[in-house]
Subunit: 194 residues, 2 copies
Amino acid sequence: MAIGRRPGISRTREELLTAARRRFADLGYDKTTVRAVAADAGVDPGIVTHFFGTKDAMFRAAMDWPFDPDDFVRAIVGPGRRGMGERLARTFLELWQGAESQPRLLAIFRSASTHEESAALVKEFVHDQLYGRLAEALGGADAELRVDLALSQLLGLAMLRHVLQVEPIASAPVEQVVARIAPTLDGYLRTPRR
Amino acid sequence: MAIGRRPGISRTREELLTAARRRFADLGYDKTTVRAVAADAGVDPGIVTHFFGTKDAMFRAAMDWPFDPDDFVRAIVGPGRRGMGERLARTFLELWQGAESQPRLLAIFRSASTHEESAALVKEFVHDQLYGRLAEALGGADAELRVDLALSQLLGLAMLRHVLQVEPIASAPVEQVVARIAPTLDGYLRTPRR
DNA sequence: GTCTATAATCGGATAGAC
DNA sequence: GTCTATCCGATTATAGAC
């Protein structure tokens, strides 16, 4: 009694999503075509319409965050202020190394510059997830600005390292990069003395 | 004897380039169409072919850097180590504020994620202009990595502030941002003691 | 659930008249 | 230098057969 897939529910949908993630990650939203995704999955383009309706809906279905925002924030701020920059840097960079998470992140950020939906995903995450709990945990009148500064460091790192792939930083070990940027993040996140 | 434009050399070419810069800056390479650029300039799409040949050639013609790399590097490293982070931050941020330079920078960086030519422009600049003279001026075995780290901070800032336009950092005054990131840049650029 | 056929549109590029 | 007309390919999306 093998635990096979239930009959009638094909794996095609999942294969389409996997193919879509790879295309969106490598090429961005605009250059990714429904036809190519369907071809990668070995099916007809009409199937995409059947399952998702539109290219945009397929993008939304494929592009959920590869982590739970609650867990993410808790892992960073939970243990307290000490070592927060280091935890943030390491958690972030390891997400970008992961075989599952990297394509999703690449797709979102590669598309964010030109695709409104991707940009909205990023902004919503920052606004709804980070400002609420992270900024509150930090304290200080300009907590949101300080969160933005830390984000700018992380975002730029991801762009240079994983999107543009500029050397030597693209090939630097995670721990080396963590050691360098952790003090920067701590500096931004630390509550300013009045 | 007014110094007018020479007869026979129309201003159409310049108007096309201006329109192209605005389109590329707002929409990125993929979503910018030759037809729309021509319409903005009030001429027929065929004129684009006449002047530039291809869309890609028009992009190249429009996308020269809005500053002289030599001057840029000299302004940063010339006066010496003291205040280098601050000069770098201010020079960079003011370029992003300028009415002439911002559209060019926006176009390049908005397109860099998905357009190979834009990404190559960025990489060439980093490689040919920065590593050569900046890294040399900094000293230390890992000078290029430290330049990358400083770039990651600047690039992320530009993305968050000008491309994604995340608040509150998008509306923060230049001097406030300069004051915050200058210490970060100095930390990266400072020659490590052995 | 899957595919064929096709509609409707839009893209970049070209040829040639004026 | 500029425009008209057009080619040709590619794209998303739809209708309907199997």
